[in-house]
């Protein structure tokens, strides 16, 4: 069920709510979003149990060294391709572990997103649409958090780990409001500023909360407004968020599990992502930087692909063994791919005309390849897909209607960009 398909509560409700909250208010006021998330809407919009882990390959991984190899061509580079566990599908030899786990994964080889500078491409691939100066669009994580998050959740809705500084861009909830901004981890793998101040005891902290609750309940006996619900909800979440620090503590995992993910930071963050997903966090982004290999592309990909291959395989294995893969969508995506042409430094430059990403798990027909590039990887030959189509596919895999609209003031904003369509070939 969604806003568009249920006019009795969608369009009318949205318009009514939009009337009470201007676009500016909606964009800046946390409570405005909670008003949109009133209980009746919540029931119809939440898709319980579905989660997303985005493995963000920051800087732009080479499709030729990962999912769309072209060995033997001048553009193909030195690596060979290997047969996967799915007959007829071959990927780069740099991904041997993933080659045996392709039955849960769909490869899209035909992204043409046109924008090949980091900033604008990042914005495009994180929001699914071209930026507008007058409106801040929410990033994928914020939209997923909004659609899949539970209003009374005791865990964060959107966690983003990006510990490399190059290209670090903090996702924003845009017009969805601050409630859906990410918990953003940059310098360490444990969130900062969620611990109780040492000078306040736990008893004091609880007493203060109870006093606030008492006063709020007295106030609400004579006053009702969705904004008051949002205000209370925010306070209720605080203790939950404060108590969630254990989710980031991988020392609580058995050594065998930690070994499975390996010693690299990316591996540890993937393990944290699994812990968060398991605890009910709807969207976790793990950014692995920095794939921007203008020089020494092949050496760089030997290093980074080893990390991606091991950690992605470990993550899929772990999710599968815990029965979580059917409800968790794992995405590998970056802002663009890399040029087929090899430059003088044995590097590859930015390239957005024909590149790849993958979707695994929830709602995905694994063991499939969608789209095709030409023999040198210079152009999309079949099944061209843009950012909006990819987002529509992601939403569809999660059971979210891609036609759904948010209202910003009186302006409808579709959750996936105008005219975008999901790729049914890779959906279950």
């Amino acid at each position: 069920m969604n806003a568009s398909n249920n006019p009795s509560l969608s369009r009318r409700s949205w318009m009514r709510l939009a009337g009470t909250a201007s676009a500016a208010t909606l964009a800046s006021d946390l409570s405005g979003l909670e008003a949109l998330g009133s209980p009746e809407l919540s029931q119809s919009l939440r898709h319980s149990g579905k989660r997303v882990i985005l493995l963000w390959l920051a800087g732009g991984a080479s499709q030729l060294e990962t999912w769309d190899p072209k060995p033997g061509r001048a553009t193909g580079g030195p690596f060979s391709k290997i047969q996967t566990s799915v007959p007829g599908i071959e990927i780069s030899e740099l991904l041997p572990k993933m080659s045996s786990r392709l039955k849960e994964t769909a490869i899209i080889r035909s992204l043409n997103t046109k924008i090949a500078d980091h900033g604008n491409a990042y914005q495009l691939m994180d929001t699914g649409r071209i930026a507008e100066p007058s409106l801040k669009f929410p990033h994928l994580g914020a939209m997923i958090a909004h659609e899949l998050g539970q209003r009374d959740s005791q865990v964060p809705d959107y966690v983003s780990m990006y510990t490399s500084t190059e290209g670090r861009r903090q996702g924003t909830a845009g017009f969805l409001g601050g409630r859906y901004n990410p918990m953003f981890l940059t310098d360490q793998m444990m969130p900062a500023n969620i611990k109780r101040l040492e000078r306040i005891s736990d008893v004091d902290h609880r007493d203060r909360a109870e006093l606030r609750n008492l006063m709020a309940s007295i106030f609400e006996r004579k006053n009702t407004h969705p904004m008051y619900d949002a205000h209370n909800s925010a306070y209720e979440r605080v203790r939950g968020l404060m108590a969630s620090d254990h989710l980031f503590d991988i020392d609580r995992e058995p050594q065998s599990t930690r070994n499975h993910y390996g010693p690299t930071q990316f591996g540890q963050q993937c393990l944290i992502a699994r812990r968060l997903i398991e605890a009910g966090v709807p969207f976790v982004k793990v950014a692995r930087a920095w794939w921007d290999s203008h020089g020494q592309n092949f050496e760089t990909h030997q290093e980074l692909c080893a990390d991606l291959d091991h950690c992605m395989a470990a993550l899929l294995d772990d999710l599968k063994s815990r029965g979580l893969l059917d409800s968790t969508l794992v995405i590998t995506l970056g802002e663009f791919g890399r040029t087929p042409t090899i430059n003088g430094s044995l590097g590859r430059d930015h390239f957005a005309s024909a590149w790849s990403c993958t979707l695994s798990g929830c709602g995905i027909q694994g063991g499939t390849v969608f789209g095709k590039t030409d023999e040198d990887g210079q152009k999309v030959a079949e099944g061209e897909m843009n950012a909006g189509d990819l987002f529509a596919t992601i939403f569809a895999a999660l059971g979210i209607d891609h036609h759904k609209e948010y209202m910003v003031g009186s302006r409808p904003i579709p959750i996936a960009d105008f005219d975008s369509e999901p790729c049914h070939d890779i959906l279950v």
Partner: protein, 336 residues
């Protein structure tokens, strides 16, 4: 031969990347390896020399190194194979799976009896040049970098009298070996050659790309790249370190910030007067240093990254294998 006399005689632009080359003693017949997996011959006696591909099953990936054993050539590539070729006929003699990972460099001992290969499986393997049989393998190089990623073994050299070998890897470790016993007799560290970026980009770049013994075998030159700020590019200084490897004393430590990039090959000049380095980033360089003082003697910018160099015994004739170009140079004084 004066470095300042260096001038180009001819060039052959191409569409592929040339990684390695060698030539016959007269320097009129050259062989080179390509990114198109081919091994080619160019006969300069022809009126209009054109490259001819050697015949056989061949390589299936970049051909990264070539050694001239006299009657035969041995090539190594990223397909992990060593291939023996008949130098006269150009026919393939044998093809063996020599390593588990990319082969980076193949050299021949001065007596032409043995071939050495180094690869990213971090092994140095010694081969009988005539039969292709493996004689030994040895290593002192860790498979993983300190940051848990696969390391690479780029460089190997043999001393002029054939008594010692040297191997150099990505993280800047050099091992020197007794050629008879294959025991390690010394080691050197050049950590500046390896850049690990823990924060901005969280991966590494660099490594030792070339090693070369002086003519008396006592000094070892080690080439690579210095610390790089932005490791997206080869934007670091071309770095050369020279050691008295017996004592471990670092005698020279040179960085060129004008023409940056990797030093892919090192040549000691006659009587060890100068050291020639070649390599590059997106462009290339040939740089001569005084071997004692380290002073820059002469420098030429090259249009493309230079991957390999061959010179004749008299240091009169040089060939460069570069990104999309082969070129012929001379150090003889230009005729008026």
């Amino acid at each position: 031969m004066q470095p300042s006399n260096l001038h180009r005689l001819s060039q052959w632009p191409c569409q592929d990347i040339l990684f390695c080359l060698t030539a016959n003693q007269q320097g009129n017949r050259i062989w080179f390896g390509s990114s198109d997996a081919g091994v080619y011959q160019l006969d300069l006696n022809e009126e209009k020399p054109s490259r001819q591909k050697l015949q056989g099953e061949g390589h299936t990936s970049y051909v990264t190194s070539i050694a001239n054993c006299g009657h035969s050539l041995v090539t190594g590539g990223y397909d992990r194979k060593l291939i023996w070729w008949d130098a006269e006929s150009g026919n393939q003699i044998r093809r063996i799976q020599a390593h588990e990972k990319w082969i980076r460099r193949v050299i021949v001992t001065p007596d032409s009896k043995h071939v050495l290969s180094v690869a990213d499986d971090m092994q140095c393997r010694l081969w009988d040049a005539a039969t292709g049989q493996q004689v030994a393998e040895f290593t002192d190089h860790a498979e993983m970098t300190p940051h848990h990623y696969p390391s690479m073994l780029y460089a190997v050299a043999v001393s002029p009298e054939g008594s010692h070998f040297a191997t150099g890897d990505k993280v800047g470790h050099v091992a020197i070996w007794d050629a008879q016993t294959l025991q390690k007799v010394a080691e050197l560290e050049t950590p500046v050659m390896y850049t690990w970026d823990p924060k901005q980009r969280r991966h590494s770049i660099g490594g030792i790309r070339s090693v070369a013994f002086s003519s008396d075998g006592r000094r070892l030159a080690v080439g690579g790249i210095g610390k790089i700020g932005n490791i997206d590019h080869l934007g670091g200084p071309a770095r050369l370190e020279v050691f008295d490897w017996h004592s471990g004393e670092r005698q020279l430590e040179l960085e060129d910030t004008k023409w940056k990039g990797l030093i892919e090959q090192i040549v000691w000049g006659p009587d060890d007067q100068w050291i020639l380095t070649t390599g590059g980033d997106h462009k290339g360089f040939t740089t001569f240093y005084d071997a004692k003082s380290g002073e820059l003697v002469h420098q030429e910018q090259q249009p493309g990254h230079v991957h390999a160099l061959w010179h004749d015994d008299a240091y009169e004739s040089l060939f460069l294998a570069s990104h999309k170009q082969l070129s012929h140079w001379s150090m003889r004084e230009k005729e008026a």
